[in-house]
Symmetry: C2
Subunit: 249 residues, 2 copies
């Protein structure tokens, strides 16, 4: 049996999420459809990170198994000829059977884009959250400190995906203004952690947005963290601003 | 009668173009639908520049007439509550009846975005043209000189929209690499002219792309210009990379 790992980018707008589900097309389902055409056999796909409906990826990692002798370097082109244009396989290589996209990952890196303008740019509506009032980016930057390092992130986990431990290590959390590239003023949040709880990135960004809007004081974040109570925390930022950028092994 | 001029941004992906047409929804039609709801009477819209299906705008200018006493500064919010999210009115002000979005315009500025990577970024597929091979941006920059200034641009006009004169003045034409903001290497072409012939921007960008790919020599552009024969010129760049950024008065 051969094991092929690949990097995949997708526009999550029209998918019900990365994982196969009964309520609509998924990224996994689309990849498996294309693989069955290319490989001439069904090939279940394992992905590194679960992304919700509307969430994008430029560096998601996946793996499948096959007896087909297609060279790994031909896999991207072969799949891209079959895949919907919302999904593109960027690279592929053969790995040994011990490699698992999810369990072998050392860290995940996400980016969250905010269209920070009085009126939302329609060109960004499917890839950025929108905040009308000018964000206090310096306050948001100051607030990042409370999240960095090893913490119990129970307060930043949405219900629906219980895990044995809610302790995670945030290795990087940065907020910056980005160059106007599509006629908008953009604020970007970049976050890297060993792993993320369910909707943890969107919940953290939701808190940073309230700090940036003056609704939440930076010093209250530690209290929210210690309280471990999601219902006391700001709502999650909307999904369309989120993008899985990289999975590190 | 009151005359209200407004600036409008739109994602042209799902429109058949800016002008009302029988074959699908148009930006003009969507604006007129929203205006009839807000003003309680039909109000024809005049737009500064015609954009094709798939072409976007961040600074299109429009105008309508009304007897309704709605303050001009309320128009954006009122329309945006009714409009499809692919269209946003950014600002509005009262003008006198002599102002015409198209005939009063002194110049138009467009931007063309190119996703220049071996595999297209799915997040950019509706707002950038894609060129697989690395573009020679320096050669493209050198080639811009042939287009700048007053010329007979007949060679760069697509059939279907005859005009009395094909002489236009290109005031600015710049090619630059842009910061990676969505995980891609972007090349941007910015062009400003007093007015443009039908598909002139896409035809000029199409020629620049062939220069960047080594298929057309920069020094041959003047010959193509003098030949006034569209059929001898490179094909137009695809519509989705194009965006009307500003109309100057």
């Amino acid at each position: 049996m051969r094991y092929i790992a690949f990097i995949v980018a997708y526009d999550g707008t029209d998918f019900c999420g990365s994982q196969r589900q009964s309520n609509g097309p998924s990224v996994q389902g689309e990849l498996e459809r294309a693989l069955s055409v290319v490989l001439k056999h069904p090939a279940p796909v394992v992905l590194a990170g679960r992304t919700d409906s509307g969430v994008h990826a430029t560096g998601q990692c996946g793996r499948f198994e096959t007896e087909n002798q297609i060279p790994a370097e031909r896999v991207p082109l072969a799949l891209n000829q079959v895949l919907d244009r919302a999904v593109r396989v960027l690279s592929a290589r053969e790995v040994d059977g011990s490699f698992h996209p999810r369990f072998s990952a050392q860290s995940r890196r996400y980016r969250y884009l905010i269209d920070n303008a009085p009126i939302a740019n329609p060109l960004l509506r499917q890839m950025a959250g929108h905040v009308r009032d000018a964000l206090d980016v310096a306050a948001m930057q100051e607030a990042t400190g409370a999240f960095i390092g090893q913490h119990d992130f129970a307060a930043w986990q949405s219900a629906g995906s219980p895990t044995s431990s809610t302790v995670r290590t945030v290795k990087k959390l940065e907020v910056r203004c980005r160059d106007d590239i599509l006629g908008s003023s953009l604020v970007e949040v970049e976050i890297e952690a060993d792993a993320f709880l369910y909707q943890m990135v969107r919940n953290i960004v939701g808190a940073l947005l309230e700090v940036g809007q003056g609704k939440l004081k930076s010093e209250n974040i530690q209290r929210l963290m210690a309280g471990r109570d999601r219902t006391k925390c700001p709502p999650p930022a909307p999904p369309q601003g989120l993008c899985l950028v990289e999975v590190k092994y």
